[in-house]
């Protein structure tokens, strides 16, 4: 076969992929994901073909292809290994795992083997902190990695086994649920009354269908339910706004893009309570008058896709989705699954809608808000997985039942994802209002020196404030609780999280795009011992500007790792700016400053080269 004809066939296949998605530019992410899966990269020729088919400019296609971490503009290996490099994984032995991969594959992280068989990459938190170190290998995930396991896996893959075969030799015979369970432990440590205890099938939906939409919304409002993704907006109010909006089409979107490092509660709900989730979305559809829904599943949870698809198909077959749901004439609702492709920002509701529309995951200008002008400009309710599950339970058990749990302003239960330095990492469903100390006792993390509540965009607290409460009014959290023992270096943690935000900023607005890079550099100075006392004020000052001027929640919270550790661990910073004994304050590393010039000049300095004599 000649080169030219291969090219033709390739582009024919790209064209076929576009046809499969009706050449719809709003399905760009699906198209590019399929291209990536088939060809392992997205070439310029491919972008031209996709642009031609969908009627977009090539640069618009490139804008999407270059935005998402799981899409690649250079060839990737047939087996792409993505190592989760979250700080929890690092502390759980990631460096040894990386070394084992690099040695076994003969490539470094960031490289693809010459034969195109393997790529090795880092990726931020993949939602498996309770079983770290973890990695994605194509569409499967592997947890609790050790160098020994890595050597065995790589040998098997080199011997021609598929990544799926690493999970089970009879992988294809397993049900989607069994596959998910083989790959990932649920680690449910405490089941509460609402979500993880016994849940009757579709009882909430049945009751909802006997009520008017207004009555459904009244119940949700009376229950005190607030969004569980982190922002905590009152769910009843959100539904009411969308219900009141006049439009031909309305949408219900489930945000299953939990990307906050240390959060993995939705992973467990998607595995164990997928029917409850879809039930909740269906109730929301009934309440606001929506006929179309989208479940946005983060790219890292691609291993759950078959499970969700099976659940959707099952519900369609049972008349729980589709036309005339449960026999109610005129109540039509169906859901499509939208896969993400590696972008934390898509957890922000505007960015999530952009992503569903086939655009780069950039937040939208507010106002207008999604409830009046969301997906494709139609009124849209975006709620977190846990929020929809709660809604279904509230319809079944009543608003008062839910309202009576928790504390004032924070009603019901909450799923906490506990990970890090504790004996029992996993999921705890508990009523709001518990103290951090109580949760640490349950999880076996009493020795903690620091606890990060709500992930890096939340608050890092020290031992003296472990009595603070897990509520919206005190320590608000989407569910992430990361425990750090006294051996951990606070500044290392902070620097990691700042690099995370730099990696995940969409780049739309100046303060978040540029300011976070400056913050990251400033923290690095502290770690290197090059900071001076004025740098503490500089950190606070720059953080304040970023928070006040950023366009969305990412930039409004990204300085939190710095600000909350400055407040709660001030000695960590002041220790790094103490004057040295010789009173000469190094604020500048001349070695690294001149290293480029030294290479260019091909000369070495007898003064500045520490290893000059070698």
């Amino acid at each position: 076969m000649t080169q030219a004809s291969t090219f033709e066939t390739d582009q024919d296949q790209v064209a076929l992929i576009c046809e499969r998605h009706q050449k719809d530019p709003h399905r760009m992410l699906d198209i590019l994901r399929d291209v990536q899966d088939q060809f392992r990269w997205i070439s310029r020729e491919t972008m031209a073909t996709v642009a031609g088919k969908t009627g977009l400019t090539q640069v618009a296609v490139e804008g999407v292809a270059s935005f998402y971490a799981f899409l690649s503009l250079t060839p990737r290996g047939r087996v792409t290994i993505r190592l989760c490099d979250d700080i929890v994984d690092r502390f759980a032995g990631l460096p040894a795992v990386v070394e084992a991969f690099e040695n076994a594959l003969g490539i470094a992280v960031g490289q693809t083997s010459a034969d195109g068989a393997f790529s090795l990459e880092y990726t931020p938190c993949i939602g498996l902190c309770d079983q770290a170190p973890a990695a994605m290998i194509n569409d499967v995930v592997l947890t609790g990695l050790t160098p020994e396991k890595v050597r065995e896996m790589v040998a098997a893959l080199k011997g021609g086994k598929r990544p799926e075969d690493l999970i089970s030799h009879r992988f294809d015979a397993l049900s989607p649920y069994e596959r998910a369970k083989r790959m990932v432990k649920n680690n449910v440590r405490h089941a509460g009354a609402v979500l993880l205890g016994p849940v009757p099938e579709d009882a909430g939906l049945m009751k909802a269908l006997a009520q008017t939409p207004a009555a459904i919304i009244d119940q949700i409002a009376a229950s005190g339910l607030r969004g569980c993704g982190g922002a905590g907006f009152t769910t009843g109010m959100k539904w009411r706004f969308a219900e009141q909006a006049e439009a031909d089409r309305k949408f219900i979107i489930c945000n299953a893009d939990e990307g906050e490092p240390g959060t993995f509660k939705d992973r467990v709900l998607l595995t164990e309570r997928p029917h409850l989730l879809i039930e909740g979305m269906t109730i929301a559809a009934r309440a606001v008058g929506a006929r179309e829904g989208i479940l946005y599943l983060r790219g890292e949870y691609v291993y759950l896709r078959p499970l969700i698809e099976e659940v959707l198909a099952e519900r369609r077959a049972k008349g729980l989705l589709g036309k005339a749901i449960m026999g109610v004439e005129g109540f039509d609702f169906d859901i499509r699954l939208q896969m993400g492709a590696g972008a934390y920002i898509c957890g922000e509701e505007g960015a999530l809608i952009s992503s569903c529309e086939g655009l780069p995951g950039e937040p939208k200008t507010r106002p207008p808000f999604p409830v009046t002008c969301g997906y494709l400009g139609f009124p849209t309710v975006v709620n977190n997985v846990e929020t929809f599950c709660h809604a279904a339970r509230i319809l079944d058990c009543g608003a008062q039942w839910f309202f009576d749990m928790g504390t004032e302003g924070s009603h019901g239960t909450k799923l906490f994802s506990v990970s890090g330095d504790c004996i029992n990492p996993g999921i705890y469903e508990l009523p709001y209002g518990l103290s951090v100390r109580a949760l640490l006792e349950m999880a076996g993390g009493e020795d903690a020196a620091a606890v990060l509540v709500g992930g890096p965009s939340g608050t890092m607290i020290a031992r003296d404030t472990f009595d603070r409460k897990l509520t919206f009014d005190d320590l608000a959290t989407g569910g992430a609780i990361v425990v750090f023992s006294p051996e951990r270096n606070i500044l290392e943690i902070v620097e990691y999280y700042m690099s995370f935000f730099v990696h995940e900023s969409c780049g739309y607005c100046t303060p978040c795009r540029v300011g976070n890079v400056f913050l990251q550099k400033a923290v690095a100075k502290f770690r290197q011992g090059l900071a001076n006392p004025a740098d503490i004020a500089y950190l606070k000052d720059l953080s304040a500007t970023i928070i006040e001027t950023s366009r969305c929640g990412l930039g409004m919270t990204s300085p939190n790792p710095i600000l909350s550790t400055l407040e709660n661990f001030p000695l960590v910073y002041s220790a790094m700016v103490k004057p040295p004994k010789d009173r000469i304050r190094a604020t500048f590393d001349i070695q690294s400053a001149i290293s480029d010039a030294r290479v260019l000049a091909k000369r070495r300095s007898s003064i500045y080269d520490k290893d000059f004599t070698k």
Binding site: R44, T57, Q58, V59, A60, E62, G63, S66, F67, A343, P360, T365, P367, V502, H503, E504, S505, C506, G507, Y508, C509, T510, P511, R513, V514, G515, V517, F518, K521, Y538, L542, T545, E548, T549, S550, R551
Partner: protein, 237 residues
């Protein structure tokens, strides 16, 4: 709903429903500093230099709708400090060497810095990027090192020229403006495009070949006036 009034720095301003704070301010001759916004183009809200305090909340004036009785703070020491930080970020993100730049004197970034009283280096680190220059087109050159990602050329080409020769690619600090093809020569860009015109690019990134340093010192846009003068002079009319 008919017209309504609100306040900017204590001045009563009349606005029509649907107008943004900036649109209403422009009409009455109150200048709110901005870089990514340009008259006749869609609002973007990306540079954030137009940040104002409206009803106690910091918002981008170019995208935030005006509302009856809203109290807006524009020229306060606090807001101008934020703006200096933002402009400082834009300077240090790219490579802006005013003394050798063709746009000097006509550059909105430079003029904004002067307006905000920036006369010395900030404490921000220089990122010193190494971005490729695209001189492939016979009539146009792009020095991306001076780009501030305002996206005015993107919107001008899409919405005014109906072409789409530019677009954003990449994410985060790597997000940048790219040509709709391997380079500008392989697009249908023409030097007569509105997107290429001197008024669209606020800095010295889009260069029309063979017309460099056309205006001598003393006759450049901001030699005699602060940026925003054209709007502020309406107040005296």
């Amino acid at each position: 709903m008919s017209g309504f009034s609100f306040q900017i720095d204590g001045v009563e301003v009349t606005a029509k429903p649907g107008q943004t704070i900036m649109e209403a301010a422009d009409e009455v001759g109150i200048y709110i500093p901005r870089l990514c916004d340009h008259e006749g183009l869609r609002h973007q809200g990306g540079c954030r230099v137009c940040t104002v305090k409206a009803g106690g909340r910091s918002v981008a004036a170019c995208t935030q709708p005006a509302a009856p009785d809203l109290v807006v703070e524009n020229e306060t020491p606090h807001i101008n400090k934020l703006r200096r930080d933002l402009v400082g970020m834009l300077f240090n993100e790219g490579n802006h060497l005013c003394p050798i730049c063709e746009a000097s004197g006509n550059c909105e970034l430079q003029a904004m810095a002067y307006r905000l009283g920036m006369t010395e280096p900030t404490k921000f680190p220089y990122l010193e990027p190494c971005r490729p220059v695209d001189a492939s087109h016979p009539d146009i050159a792009l020095d991306n090192n001076r780009c501030i990602s305002c996206g005015r050329c993107v919107r001008a080409s899409q919405d005014v020229d109906g072409k789409g020769i530019f677009g954003y690619v990449g994410r985060g600090i790597h997000r940048h403006i790219a040509a709709n093809g391997p380079d500008l020569r392989h697009t249908d860009a023409e030097v007569t495009d509105f997107a290429i015109s001197a008024e669209v690019c606020p800095v010295g990134c889009i260069i029309r070949k063979r017309e460099g340093f056309a205006r001598p010192i003393g006759e450049r846009d901001y030699d005699d006036h602060l940026i925003g003068y054209d709007i502020e002079k309406k107040r005296d009319e």
